[in-house]
């Protein structure tokens, strides 16, 4: 089997330009990358290097100016509206830095959201939701609470549960520990490790070395280009640097 045969994310010369008036700014200047099924990859780089833009491309939240994106064998750059939404729903689970939980909804309802476009019958949802919350290290007693009644770390676990609930092949996390203290960050990384061990691909964008070094592979991004890979150092991973 070729490398691309096992690949779940392939980016071929992906470029993204932002045009403001006459001024063109390049977010990505030709990214080539492959992430294989079941990998845990960190994308690291300084602010403005294009990390979030790259994650938006992989997550099909934005369209590249040029280049090709293939997600789990699907040529995503050729897809439009509804098809893109279906791929996002079935293949990708998002975890955001600011959690992006909907404050008016309960924890249950927040985790339930990805099941709605998938058309999962309501009678089947509760079991799936509880399973996802437990997988994310959450507690069933949170289900009836509103997100604002939980701590930042707990909210991020709910957000991870929401990302996991559809059992997507890929978990994309954009600075998932950016708003958390180290203790909560460690729990998030533990969850990603657990999810990855269960076979799901995890791609984490971070500028935090303690989080980045927990991955199997680190891609380094500078000025919209992948400039190379760094061998993760387990001793720098928060799981080892922060003792219980």
């Amino acid at each position: 089997m070729s490398e691309e045969g096992k690949a779940i994310v392939i980016l071929k010369d992906v470029k993204k330009a932002y045009k403001v008036g006459e001024i063109i700014t390049w977010g990505l200047r030709g990214v080539n990358m492959v992430v294989r099924k079941g990998e845990y990859v960190s994308i690291m780089g300084p602010s403005g290097s294009g990390k979030t833009t790259l994650l938006n491309m992989i997550g099909l939240l934005d369209k590249p100016t040029s280049g090709e994106i293939i997600i789990d064998g699907i040529p995503a750059t050729k897809l439009k509206g509804k098809q893109l939404a279906i791929v996002r729903n079935r293949k990708i689970g998002f975890v955001f830095q600011q959690f992006n939980l909907i404050a008016r909804l309960t924890v249950y309802e927040n985790i339930e959201l990805p099941l709605i476009p998938r058309g999962v019958p309501r009678r089947l949802r509760k079991k799936i939701i509880i399973e996802a919350l437990r997988m994310a290290g959450g507690d069933v007693s949170w289900l009836r609470k509103k997100p604002t009644q939980l701590s930042g770390g707990q909210q991020q676990r709910v957000a991870i549960a929401r990302a996991l609930v559809n059992r997507p092949a890929i978990i994309l996390a954009d600075e998932p520990t950016g708003a958390l203290d180290r203790k909560a960050s460690k729990v998030v990384v533990q969850t990603f490790k657990k999810v990855n061990a269960a076979g799901q691909t995890v791609i984490v964008v971070t500028h935090d070395p303690e989080v980045g070094h927990c991955a199997q592979r680190i891609l380094l991004l500078r000025d919209g280009r992948i400039i190379g890979e760094e061998e993760p150092d387990p001793d720098k991973c928060i799981l080892n640097t922060l003792k219980d």
Binding site: N56, G59, L61, D62, G81, K82, A85, I86, R88, N89, R90, F94, F96, N100, I102, R104, L105, E109, L113, P114, I116, P117, R118, G119, R122, R162, N166
Partner: protein, 406 residues
Amino acid sequence: MVAVTDILRYSYKVLTEKRFRAVLTVIGIAIGPLALVMMTSVVRGYASYVESQLLALGQNTIVVTASSGYTLTDKDLDFVKGIRGVADAKPFYMTQAIIQTVEGQKRIWVYAIDTSILLKAIGNLQLEKGDFPAPNEVTMAAIGHFVAYSEGTGRKLYDLGDAVTLLIPQVKHGGETSITRVVVRVAGILKEYGGAMFVSPDQGIFLPFEAGKRLLHMNQWTGIFIVAKNPNYVTSIVKKIRDTYGEKVSVIAFQQIAKIVSSISAAMDFIAFSTSLSAFAVAVAGTAATMITSVIERTREIGVLKALGFTDGQITAMILGEAIIMTLIGASIGITLGMAGAYALASKGLVISSGTSRIVIKAPPQITAEGILMTLAITMVVGIVGGVFPAYRAAKIPPAVALRYE
């Protein structure tokens, strides 16, 4: 396939978060159906009542009255009788009078008319007891139901054989007025008729034709009652009289008045509808403003929903769902209040005053399932129109842009 219940549940949750704003929008939406139901049902109620009363007076009936300066005579009566399609024609006298009852003074109409044409001209006129006076019994009268009984309490004021004193104001030459006192005896009491248009049987006293001259001392006929062979002749009879007499006489054909009332009521209906549309226009603007604000506030949330796999169509449905829920609540409140308001408005009655004459029409509002459904449909269109642009705008926000929104 997304369940509609999921969409509506989500939309409802959004509305409950900003309750005050949603309530204000619902109030704005409710004004349109309220105004439409209230105004059109009251207008239609009055129109329907007036038309039915006019038609009850007889679709075959025509009344010719002399204009000032012209006196109707036997020659005119013969001419009228000779017109094709006329079944019968009889002259009559009519005046207003005041009677004194235990409840105080009461203004009534006094008619001196041949009983046979009266019964032909006014459908369903029936006696409760007694009889109509014979042609030569000039001091005997059949009295209307609300002459015999109090309109408010139903208390009996006059019975068979009672004397009724009529005070008849008369204008003499030179403009001087005097009161003529006439006493008649009750020969019959009419059943309640219910009509109050042009001829008022309930507030009338009917004397034999001869009493007009001999008892009321009226020198000129007030007019001629004409009964056509069937309603199809009415138009041609009216035309013939108008062509012959011009401005010398006034011709009233109840069938034609009913048609005019019908067209006037249709025009009023249109005016009421048009007026209501302005309220609906405000509702569209209100709904759109609320929804646009809501969409702007939730831009980031919309980005999250798209990231989670909601399609543009599902986002549109959610935003439209909010508009539709508010519209349904607004329509329900508006229609309910409109119906209540229509009954309250109709209970006051429509007062038509002309000189010393005063008629109060009390008609129930005409509320129909068709009208309610039409109002509901218009209100739904309002909600959808108000919600479409914000929903479209929400659906078209690129998810990456929405997620960056602060």
